[in-house]
């Protein structure tokens, strides 16, 4: 299965937030801490991506880095799919 687009990952992130009664912000510069998007949520999103693509993400490939904004999450997952 092909990699997910940034928009598709964004939709999934909105679903993770919605399940907890939170809204996806319009701006990708939104801060994750203020949004209440925590480590567990990021992990869930990553597994949703894996389930959708049918491929395991290699988290060792790009090296974990600071993830502070919605854009960071989308960038990172895009990059992981390409790794």
């Amino acid at each position: 299965m092909s990699a997910l687009s940034r928009d598709q990952i964004r939709t999934m992130m909105a679903e993770v937030l919605a399940a907890q009664g939170k809204e996806m912000p319009a701006e990708d510069t939104a801060n994750l801490e203020e949004l209440g998007f925590r480590s567990l949520d990021f992990s869930e999103l990553a597994l949703r991506v894996e389930d959708e693509t049918g491929e395991e993400l290699n988290f060792d490939a790009p090296g974990l880095r600071q993830i502070q904004t919605v854009a960071d999450v989308l960038d990172f997952l895009e990059q992981l799919q390409a790794a």
């Binding site: 567990l40 990021f42 992990s43 869930e44 990553a46 597994l47 949703r48 974990l64």
Partner: protein, 409 residues
Amino acid sequence: MSQAPAGEPTRGAGNRIVLRGVATTWGELDTLDLPPAAAVLVEDNLQAARAVWTHATSDRETLVTSRTRVTPDLGADLRAEGLALVSGDLSQVEPATLERDAQPGRIWLLTSGSTGRPKRVAHTLDSLTTVGGDQPARTWLCPYAHGAYAWWQVVTLGLTVPGQDVVFIEPDELDTWPRMALDAGVTAASGTPTFWRQALYRDPEAVAALPLEQVTLGGEPVDQAILDRLIELFPKARVSWIYASSEAGASIAVHDGKAGFPEAWLDRDTPGRPRLSIVDGELVIASPKRGEGIDEHLRTGDRVEVVDGRVLITGRLASDEINVGGSKASASQVRDVLQSHPAVAWASVKGRKAPIVGNIVTAEIVTTEPVSDDELSAWARERLPEYAVPRRLRFLDAIPIKETLKSDV
């Protein structure tokens, strides 16, 4: 036909047994021409019953198991331990590769092997016989895997106690057993919680139609939700749960309809009864019915916790704990919460490798009516810490069940 010698092991020789719908008695079974020390790899309960009757009426050493359980490696191990392999129509014999004298009366059981190749546990008909004395006449359902400890418990009851008939169910009959049981007049049935959940999910009306006087659960952690469901369905029956294993022997029997056993039973010394204790959250049992060579104080590997005066057996220590970012989620606790939802027929909970937090909690679910992912997540969030709430739910069409009647698939 063989003649049953007088003696305790065959007092039930006249008891009825039903095999694939055909009724006979133990005493009417043909005996087998077996080597003195034999592992009998059976295709069905007729072969298994003949092996048992042959064992009970002669001096020999026997292991009975399903043919499908014995891999080439395990078969080689058994032969190297001095057991001939008997299979097919039970006239095919692969001789033992170790020559030794048979141990008359010895019965070998295979452990479930959930943590590797099955181990052999030594018993005798006497050590496997855990029910005696005067018993009300009953017809028992035996759905267990050939040669498993729970199978032997039903078999020895039928073999040794007059008035205890047995209706055997083959693995390929698990879908249709309630109607077969009704036809055969079953009044007592024993199965794992997964066995009962599957039956109630598939055909609750057929199960409810059975005139059961005794309902028994064992082999897996027994939760309150399944006990309540069975008590509601069979208000006149005694609903019991039993803790037993090939290694520990039959050790706990609870008849008050509640999950767990009274805390007062801990650290109590009663002659002839097992001593139960908790060490580091693990159930430890010293049972007179344990297998030979098993530690007197057996660490069972089962996790227990004391809640409101009851000791609850929640699951295996090795697989129960899910480490979510340093917080410890209990798979059995999550499973019980999901299974307490009115629309959930069955749940299985596992950890799944995930970035950053190491693992997240995931669940497989079977429901009796449509229920959304969001609703179940909300149900779990109200009852569990955040890290223990399943983040991925997978809905299955049917309850998966193995030949062991357990759901650890």
